[in-house]
Every structure is written in C-alpha cells, then in structure tokens.
Symmetry: C2
Subunit: 317 residues, 2 copies
Amino acid sequence: MPAPDNPPVPQRELIRREDAVLERIAAIVGRHSIPKGEVHVGDDAAVLAPFVGETLISTDVAVLGIHLDPALFPLEDLGFKALASAVSDLAAMGGRPRAAVVAVSSPPGTDLEELHRGIADASAITHCPVVGGDLTRSKDVSVAATVLGETPGRGSVLRSGAKPGDVIFVTAPLGRSSAGLRRRREGAPLDDALVVAHRRPWPRINEGLAARHAGVHAMMDLSDGLALDLHRLADASNVGFRLSDIPVAPGATQDEALSGGEDYELLITTANIERLYAIYANRGLTKPIIIGEVVSDAAERTCNGGPLERLGWQHQL
Amino acid sequence: MPAPDNPPVPQRELIRREDAVLERIAAIVGRHSIPKGEVHVGDDAAVLAPFVGETLISTDVAVLGIHLDPALFPLEDLGFKALASAVSDLAAMGGRPRAAVVAVSSPPGTDLEELHRGIADASAITHCPVVGGDLTRSKDVSVAATVLGETPGRGSVLRSGAKPGDVIFVTAPLGRSSAGLRRRREGAPLDDALVVAHRRPWPRINEGLAARHAGVHAMMDLSDGLALDLHRLADASNVGFRLSDIPVAPGATQDEALSGGEDYELLITTANIERLYAIYANRGLTKPIIIGEVVSDAAERTCNGGPLERLGWQHQL
C-alpha cells in the first residue's frame, strides 16, 4: 500500500533503496524451493498449488517492547516468535503448515535483515515457507504473521469438541517459557536452555497431526497459560474439568506452569487414551501427559479439589 | 500472542474487558453467514471449506499517520483501505476473494469499533468475510489485512506474462484517488465524489475475473501509480512499452493520473482485444481503455514518444 502523504517527487534514490532492501530480505526468507506452478514473493499476490482438505488461516502480531523486551533479547527473536506463535495455531487444529506472509512495520534504521532472519528461522523449522509480505514505516517495530495450513484426511480439531469423560492431556511439562524469561531477567545467557525455550518456541506440529489422526475430541495450544486456556476450551465445549496434576518443567515454578504464557504445548482431550499413546509412540513422539478429566458440569473447574482461578496473560486493549 | 511483560496478577477485570471488546468487534465484522463446515472467529485458527483451483494470499498494512491523515479522514477509512488494498491484489491475479484476517495494533483508547466498521464495510463490498484476527497494544494504530482468494478454472494472471505486441489497457481513467486527497486537503467534504474515491477504493474484482477468463497475458493493480507500476510489469515481463495516451479522470490532473497512487484500477496486457471487449460487455462491465502497446525492447519505455520516468509513491524504509 502506498503512502499518499509522501510528496510525489522524483524518487529514484528511494526506489533503488527500497528495491535493494526487498532483494536482501527476499534472499533471507526465500531459501526454500518453490514448487512447480507456485509464485511466491514478487507478484500482486502469492499463488499456491491447490490445498488438500480444509484450509486453515491464523494471524498473530508481535510488537517490540510489548511481546519482546529489546534490552533482553535480539530483534530476530521478535520475528521468530510472531511466526512460530501463528504456526502453533495451525498445530492446534491438527493442521499442516503450507505458507506464511509477514507484514513488518518499523521506524527508519531498524535492522530489517536481522528481523527477517528470525522469521526465516521459524519458517525453516516449521516447513512453512514465507511466500509474501509487506513493509511499511511506523513508530513501533511490529511483525504481523499470517499462516495457512491444510488438514488432509479427517477434519480440523476444534476447541469446542471436549466431552464429559474425556481425559485431558498436555504434550509436555509446562512453564519453560516463563522460567526462561525469568532466568534471562536474572542474567542467564541467551543460550541457556530455558531462555532458548522462551526465545524459540517450537510449534507442536507433529503432535497436533498425530492427535488429529488419533481422533481426539478437542485441542488448542497453550499460548496464554493453562489456567486461562483450559477455561477457554471448557467454555467453548460447555463442560467443566477436574485437574489432578500439573506437570511442572524442570527449572520452572508451579505458578509458571499454571499461568505462564507462551509454552505452545498442546492441550488435548480424548476418550481414546490408548489410541493417542499408540500413534504418538509409533511416530516417535514424546508420550503426552494426563492432567485430568472433562466433567459435564460446566461450573466445575477444579485442580486438586480446589477451584482453578482463571489466570494468565491478558492484553490491555 | 501473550504479552510476557505484563505482570501475571489476577486479571478478572482485564479478561472481562478484553472479552467484551472482542465480542463487540466480532458482532461488527461477523455479519456474514458462515458456510456449513467452516469455523470463523473463535478457535485457534479459522477453518475454511476446500478452495477451488489455486490459492492466492496477499497482505497489506495501513498505519495511521502514514497511510491516512487522521486530521482529514475518519479512523474507519484506515480499516477500509487496508482490507480493500489487499483484496485488490487478489483482483489483480484474476482471483475471487474467499476470506480475510485482520491484525490490529493500537494504543489504549483507540476506537476499535470504528476501525472495525471500516474493515467490515470493505469486507461486505468485496464479499471477503473476516474469519479471524488479532488485537494487540502498540504506539501506532495499524491494520495488517491478509486476504485469501481462489482461481477457479484457468490459472492466476501474473505480471510477468506480457508479450511484445500486446495491447495495454487500464480499467478506467486514472488519478481519482490523488485528486480526492488533494480536494480533501483543500477543504472538500468527505462525501465529495473524488474524496470518496480516495477513502473508499473499490477493488476491481469482477474486472479481474473477466480479464482472466479472457485469457489476458499479464495483469496487476495500480496501487503506486501507472508511472511506477507499468515499469514493474515491464520489468517482470522483460519487455518495454510505448504509451500513446493516459486517460485522466475528470477532476484529476495529468500528474495525478500518471503518478498518483491508490487508484486500484487494473493494468492489463492482451493479444486478444476483441475477446476482452466481448467478455467485459457481456458481463456489463465498463469497456477497458487502451493506453499503449508492449514492445520487445525492454529499454524502450515511452509515453507520446518521450521517456516515461519511473515515478510514484515510495515507502521510506
């Protein structure tokens, strides 16, 4: 989109500069091979070969200073987190990533190449090629990542499908991301294992696909903390829950496991425990962890017998 | 995506407030009917029924103060323009819009409902339902709109397909948007016809579909002005051009027609003029206007015999 408030003066130098930036960025994010018949960066829109099954779409924004403290983390982490958190939404539906577009806003002087290196890293590990984007000026540095996925075979897994009697699982112990943020604030290096868990969340794509293939009833990703996200799943499904156990990751606290955000583990409910275990084992995935059960009374929301308060990260709109 | 720098305190009030805002926004953008089997706002990702043909995706950001002067235009125009400009990219491929997601960043106190009314208006006129979004805090007000389209039948029309001998068309006289901005700065009311052309660009979806069905060779939308965009089409196609005539919209100047941005008319090249005319006439579309021809020498870029300088709106990255 053009900027009509710029004067319409001859701008050969600006055009050259913008083209050069775009070329360097395209080289950073365009390292994937382009399937025959597809058109990625460069035309009005990207063209993708037909999808298999349903099409999934999700968008996530990360703003420097809100979602990432620039005093503690490199700029590339902002790009990584924006794209990874969007891909995690596809994983939560049991989807397979197909493509991403990234809209980057930034003030003059921002290291756009560093920012796009983080985007490219997340794109590479999730096999979700960046096929287009937009760059614009703004006061903030922000990345809006939109991802597309597909669900071959069975349909997408919603958060509204939980049924009384379902067993509730998470894909791993919780709290690593919050613990990593705390450790970084205390001075831990960027390559500390928990700090890396915070900086470089790994979307549970394979786990989501396996859960979908196992016919689970409901699924979502834990982006805002179990103690908020589980309520959301229960609200959507009109059910309650009885938690027996919260698996706390080594190095994390109980609070971090319960209400820390950005773990991006999956929350799953199913009536068929053995099938879920079998498919995970068959695919070499870590065994998911039982944390409780779904109950029919939507007002019953307990952990170890006491009420589970609705806590977690909130945006201040 | 959560905001890890917020304190993890009990936030029942914030949760209530965010939920209330989201509900009001969902009511504004969710006035379309949801096809059977689809899931729009509310789950981790939106789920769309299978697409027909290729999938198209494009993203566009609009930032208040950069793309829209808040002293001259209402906030809802920002939402309208972001979505309309993204949909125009689908039109430029000959695509049919399927769905949009919008990521909105804004400081506290922003009238998010007004902003989303503009988004909803653009969604309604383009038949491109908003199926998801994200809201976050930031210093700027910005809207990142991402749209999905499909191309049933023949494949998408690229900007790289122009061939020597092709006739070059535009879908209407140019310069209306720039003229409208100028008139608004001179004090014209918001409902002045040219001001409306600037505030409420109408993506040429039907014209794009008709051009694709007519088998045109190349197409793009005029977002940054003919004198820049035509060079881009020629660059992508490795051809030159000889312009004979620039159709200037009533009320616009020659300069506005040549290098004013945001007209969102389509630029088309084809070897089969009669077929294009016939399909446009058959569908009740305004007859497209011949502006020149494509030549094989990529260095020949002329208008009325003189060189056409590469001018237009540029981002300052």
